[in-house]
Symmetry: C2
Subunit: 348 residues, 2 copies
């Protein structure tokens, strides 16, 4: 069976307009769980893939071709603008991104600049333009890491469990922290504006690490900057999705950013989240990504439960986090069949 | 300055009775951040330390001697009863506990038994008796992992990031999941009863991994078992503390367990948590453990903010998670000085 044609239901749902059914896409949908992605990656390194518009376009299109998702998302890495700010990034297999010279002292900020995206990251808008031509009927989401999340990588120099370096920096020198978050905020705005100018029809801000902060730190170190980004992007007229991993304690605060769609991880009940958020904002989420490892009947039941909790209008169906690299294709198919009201798991 | 004498304020706070100031202890307070602990560990392996009552008693007393905390907690490991159930545990340096033959199939459950604590773990009640003699004026907390958290180790075989094996097991064979959780629940009840019989004056259930579940899974796989444990321990007359890491989405559910004190991680605002929980339950927490790496003035301010949010009565001051191994002693001193209303950081 060929994929169903992409409908504008993704953009409608972001704007809380009526839809025939909630749209669906998956965070990290162009990724290692796809054999066709692994084939491309067998030939080029990760950063080279991000920086080669033809290849970035190709892998962005792969999950749309296979599954007919209701939105595509630019294939890239959240550290691309960090590199453009002046911090070389390396990708170490099985370890993820590593920054050789992380920010640890106030003076380290002197190395950073707010980069012009077209000059320093021309491959990103170019990939956006190619994807739009390749997928004229599928809305394209641009994205960026949010300031605190990018600052976490810049200070830790890699992923972290406890974020001791990040918090130590933020608390020991609040003025330097504000200076860093200001630089990143300006970078993110220009970076997303460039993606929208090139054709991105929506943007998602990934605040993967905002949830490791106490709420008082969120109020001080996250909320003002994300709010500013939303306000500065508003004139561009595209829906803004704001994803936080560990959103439950922060829902009311997230809403104050003014973003159109709140992206939620799986650890919060979607119905309770909608009740707390109120009817004037859309939500995205939030099937536990591990659920795609369950038997098909369990996937179908859990998918329907998320749809029911989402309430139909103003709900973009997604996983509660990125799809895991070892997820079976059949799990994705079972989820899509349940969303599309099909009886069995075959969807691609 | 010698440590202040331990007062019964810990037990009073658990029961929401008036106290002169909130009591304070720290999760993992007998641990690697203490030079005197590292000295003991330089001579014996971790499991040997857990299983030698004299040494377990000694390291339990160390933080009380140095800091005069308002409660001691039995030094042990949450996997001790798992080993007694029939699963050998190894401790790999820098990697933590490893179970050679994790539970992956229904048939693996046949290897498990509900152990008699006095017969299989006699060193635990013996350590409790020695600690009570060594610290007659300081309330002693016994503890156990909660069923889901112990089951997570038993199924994953080690720590995990995504808990794919755990969730796959729970969802693929709900009957086997219930059988496993039943075995663990019975084990935990006997284990905690033995600690109380030996002299433990309160108990804490650590549900470190319950927060990785979606709320619907918590309702099915956690709540009934923890509720049963609380009910079965109730006749013993000791306060029951229930700690969940990632508690924010689960507060109202945690309260339904009937535990006396809700242990909260740092990611939820303590004032908001108290408002949601209501006045008929005590709380424990919830300073970000990383805050102890901040400058002393920041530690003092953040400690006072937690005290203010805790509201005085029915609040046991603690970190929001275990103290990190590389925490400076001076950080703990600054926190204690703020709790005790002293001007500077010297407390030990």
């Amino acid at each position: 069976m060929p994929p169903e044609p992409a409908a504008p239901r993704f953009l409608a749902a972001c704007r809380r307009e009526p839809v025939d059914r909630p749209p669906v896409w998956m965070m990290r949908q162009a990724g290692r769980y796809l054999p066709e992605y692994r084939e491309v990656r067998g030939q080029v390194g990760f950063l080279e893939l991000c920086k080669t518009p033809d290849l970035a376009c190709e892998v962005t299109c792969q999950p749309i071709r296979r599954f007919g998702f209701d939105a595509a998302i630019l294939f890239s890495d959240i550290l691309i603008p960090v590199e453009a700010m002046g911090m070389p990034v390396e990708f170490v297999e099985d370890l993820g991104p590593v920054l050789d010279a992380p920010i640890r002292l106030r003076g380290d900020l002197d190395r950073l600049r707010v980069p012009d995206p077209e000059a320093t990251m021309p491959f990103v808008p170019e990939a956006v333009r190619r994807i739009r031509r390749a997928l004229p009927a599928t809305p394209l989401i641009g994205f960026s890491g949010a300031p605190l999340t990018l600052a976490a990588y810049m200070i830790e120099g890699a992923g972290s469990k406890d974020f001791v370096e990040l918090k130590r920096f933020l608390w020991a020198d609040p003025e330097a922290a504000r200076r860093l978050l200001r630089l990143v905020t300006d970078t993110v705005v220009l970076y997303l504006e460039a993606q929208v100018a090139a054709g991105a029809q929506a943007v998602q801000l990934f605040d993967t690490w905002a949830g490791v902060l106490a709420p008082r730190d969120y109020d001080e170190l996250v909320l003002p900057y994300v709010t500013e980004i939303v306000a500065r992007l508003r004139p561009r007229g595209v829906p803004i999705i704001y994803f936080v991993n560990g959103a439950a304690p922060l829902l009311e605060r997230m809403k104050r950013t003014g973003a159109d769609v709140m992206g939620l991880d799986w650890r919060v009940d979607l119905g309770e989240a909608r009740a707390r958020l109120g009817p004037d904002v859309a939500v995205q989420g939030n099937l536990d990504p591990v659920a795609l490892h369950a038997p098909p009947a369990v996937i179908a039941e859990r998918t329907r439960a998320v749809l029911a909790a989402g309430g139909g209008t103003g709900h973009v169906f997604n996983l509660g986090h990125g799809i895991l690299p070892d997820t079976p294709i059949a799990g994705v198919e079972a989820m899509l069949a349940a969303i599309r009201g099909e009886a069995s798991g075959g969807a691609g």
